[in-house]
């Protein structure tokens, strides 16, 4: 036996508190450092207590905040400084990235594109993003260098954009050039491929430094090859970059393009937004949805029309026949891709929340402070939906009246 023998008597004597007439022992302080810290259910419960409520309420999600006795609480690390950006000073090679950045913002697909680019660049390479406008998100997304394209990002000029990328390829000589396999990115990649005459590895689903993989022949076979120069990356197949933020150093690149051939063939381009009232739910950009807490559906329809939104509903209303089935949001209805979701009187059952998981911004009106929909929302309003809806109509009316 190598373990020293315990002496309970001496341990107890050491825990005796001085000064008291009657022997008193502070046994809580006893547990040795090598042991697992001792839990104290009483302090745990006290730390989970929601302040202010008349009735005892415990917030169980606070579990682990003060899990151990104060005497054993580990040293809290000092306030963490924001992580230093990773700098690649002299990259061995470059990976050029052409994100879509619709509306000047980095989308999910763009982030995955940077994830793929970082995968190809490894430790010694650098990712180089050619963007229409700088964005603070580029560094955290995984861009080592950025350059701003000279062209107007809102004009429709795919040939000009392709010529610019070819110019950047000439100036930087990147080892890989990555595009998103989206409507715009896929088009751009194919234009660049025919301009440079290089093969394109389209729709890559697996990206690693050693091999790329893509589906072909109706997804019956998978084609693999060593990373080629031009690659388009499919959506939702590659993880976005999750490491420390990169530097996103701004550089200037000579982007002189010699526009020849078909330049100027496009006489005019006009954007026609989708009609929100008739667009399918899955395509809608802004959805206003009613749940069991909404009783006046005529009023709801007027609010939806006034906001210029697409109507939606929870399953309760669709089951009751108050809303058509194709308006149901959720696991057994439609999964939305909207930018903003406005939920009126919806509790936020998991089956409903699955349908709005991809929505960036959520507004919820509910009478219940503890509804899951309110917990998920970016703006939660604890009020009767039947009162808020006419107030919104009145407010819009007033604004229109104020206009000269």
């Amino acid at each position: 036996m190598t373990r020293p023998r315990r002496d309970p008597r001496a341990e107890r004597a050491a825990a005796r508190t001085a000064g008291a007439e009657r022997p008193r022992y502070d046994l809580g302080a006893k547990a040795s450092a090598s042991r697992r810290p001792r839990r104290d259910p009483r302090t745990e419960a006290a730390s989970q207590r929601v302040p202010g409520a008349a009735r005892l309420r415990l917030d169980r999600s606070q579990f682990g905040v003060v899990p151990v006795l104060a005497a054993h609480a580990p040293e809290r690390p000092a306030e963490k400084a924001p992580p230093k950006p990773v700098i690649v000073e002299n990259p061995d090679f470059l990976v050029l990235v052409a994100p879509d950045m619709a509306g000047g913002r980095l989308g999910e697909h763009d982030r995955q594109l940077f994830g793929a680019a970082r995968e190809l660049a490894g430790k010694t390479g650098a990712t180089f993003a050619l963007v229409g406008a700088a964005s603070p998100d580029l560094g955290p997304a995984g861009a080592d260098r950025i350059a701003i394209a000279a062209r107007d990002p809102d004009a429709y000029d795919p040939d000009g954009r392709a010529a610019e990328i070819v110019a950047a390829m000439r100036a930087l000589d990147p080892r890989h050039v990555l595009f998103a396999e989206s409507a715009d990115g896929g088009d751009l990649a194919r234009r660049v491929a025919v301009l440079t005459g290089e093969p394109l590895f389209a729709d890559a689903e697996q990206v690693s430094a050693s091999a790329l993989g893509r589906p072909a022949r109706c997804r019956k076979v998978e084609q693999r090859s060593a990373p080629t120069r031009l690659v388009t990356v499919a959506a939702d197949c590659v993880a976005s970059y999750a490491g420390a933020p990169r530097e996103a150093r701004l550089e200037t690149v000579e982007l002189s393009t010699d526009r020849t051939g078909a330049a100027g063939a496009i006489v005019s381009a006009r954007l026609i937004p989708a009609d929100p009232a008739t667009v399918p739910l899955a395509l809608a950009d802004f959805v206003v949805s009613a749940g069991n807490g909404v009783t006046d559906l005529d009023l709801f329809a007027r609010v939806v029309a006034a906001l210029g939104a697409t109507p939606g509903a929870s399953r309760v209303l669709c089951d009751a026949g108050l809303m058509p089935r194709d308006r149901q949001v959720g696991a057994s209805g439609t999964v939305l891709g909207a930018t903003c979701y406005f939920a009126l009187g919806i509790a936020g059952a998991p089956q409903h929340l699955q349908g709005v998981a991809d929505c960036e911004h959520i507004v919820a009106v509910n009478t219940d402070l503890h509804a899951a929909m309110i917990a998920r929302a970016g703006l939660g309003i604890i009020q009767d939906a039947q009162l808020v809806m006419p107030a919104i109509l009145k407010e819009l009316e007033r604004e229109r009246g104020d206009r000269p």
Partner: protein, 262 residues
């Protein structure tokens, strides 16, 4: 207006039998409604030409060659002699490499512009056509483009006309051997192996079941929320409208119409 539709041999995704890709059948409908149009196919098989007649064309050209070579050379040569206003193609092939590069290569070799993802084409007078291009989220871009041009068709275009046997019998197929000078070998295909389905990427794979549920419902991304407990309905309305304007889904106050009532 004179149109050419590029036809390829597709495979049915389930049965694996030869089938005309759906976007090409949609292209045939667009072309047939616009004017005199012919179908054009390069390859060993006359099947796409026959299918095209059944779906609504009166005439198809089959440039026969042994299987394997690059179809771009013969396609470009024939299109140059036909001199059409608009060349229509599918967005991607189906059952082959599925890279969607062929229309771009044809446009580059002809030196004409290419417009991808069209759902409708209308003549706009005097050497111009109006092309409606499908964008994500149901939006459209309406382009006015100078002819000649190459257009690829988006799956959201009007559904193809049904196959009619009598129409396929009445139409004519012109079979020509492709000039050997136009034929070039294609780059060898990369290594192939059976397709393996991989698990879908999850936003944040957490440790516990509760974490995974949060990842599915999006609660993991929630945070920085603003909760108003019991505001007056008027304050609530102002707050909601301000939020909607901040995230950019509602036009700013006084900036004109939002919705049909405005």
């Amino acid at each position: 207006m004179k149109l050419v539709v590029l036809l390829s041999v597709g495979r049915h995704p389930v049965s694996g039998k030869p089938a005309l890709p759906r976007t090409e059948a949609q292209a045939i409908r667009i072309a047939a409604e616009l004017g005199a149009s012919i179908g054009l196919h390069v390859g060993p098989d006359a099947f796409p030409a026959e299918a095209a007649l059944g779906h609504g064309l009166d005439r198809a050209v089959h440039l026969a060659c042994a299987g394997g070579p690059d179809p771009i050379g013969p396609l470009v040569a024939r299109i140059a002699t036909e001199a059409p206003d608009v060349v229509l193609a599918g967005r991607r092939g189906q059952g082959g490499e599925e890279t969607g590069l062929a229309p771009y290569a044809v446009a580059a070799r002809l030196g004409v512009p290419i417009v991808p993802d069209a759902v409708a084409i209308r003549p706009a007078g005097d050497g111009l056509v109006e092309v409606d291009q499908a964008l994500p989220k149901g939006a459209l871009r309406r382009l006015v483009v100078r002819t000649p041009l190459v257009v690829t068709v988006h799956p959201n275009a009007p559904a193809p006309l049904p196959y009619a046997f009598g129409k396929a019998r009445r139409g004519s197929i012109e079979r020509v051997d492709a000039a050997a000078a136009d034929l070039a070998a294609v780059a060898p295909a990369p290594e192939e192996r059976p397709y393996r389905k991989r698990p879908k990427m999850m936003r944040a794979a957490g440790g516990s079941a509760a974490d995974r549920l949060k990842a599915v419902t999006g609660e993991a991304t929630a945070g920085g929320a603003k909760i108003l407990d019991g505001p007056t309905p008027e304050d609530a309305a102002k707050e909601v409208l301000a939020f909607l304007r901040r995230v950019g889904v509602l036009a700013p106050a006084g900036a004109g119409a939002t919705g049909p009532t405005a």
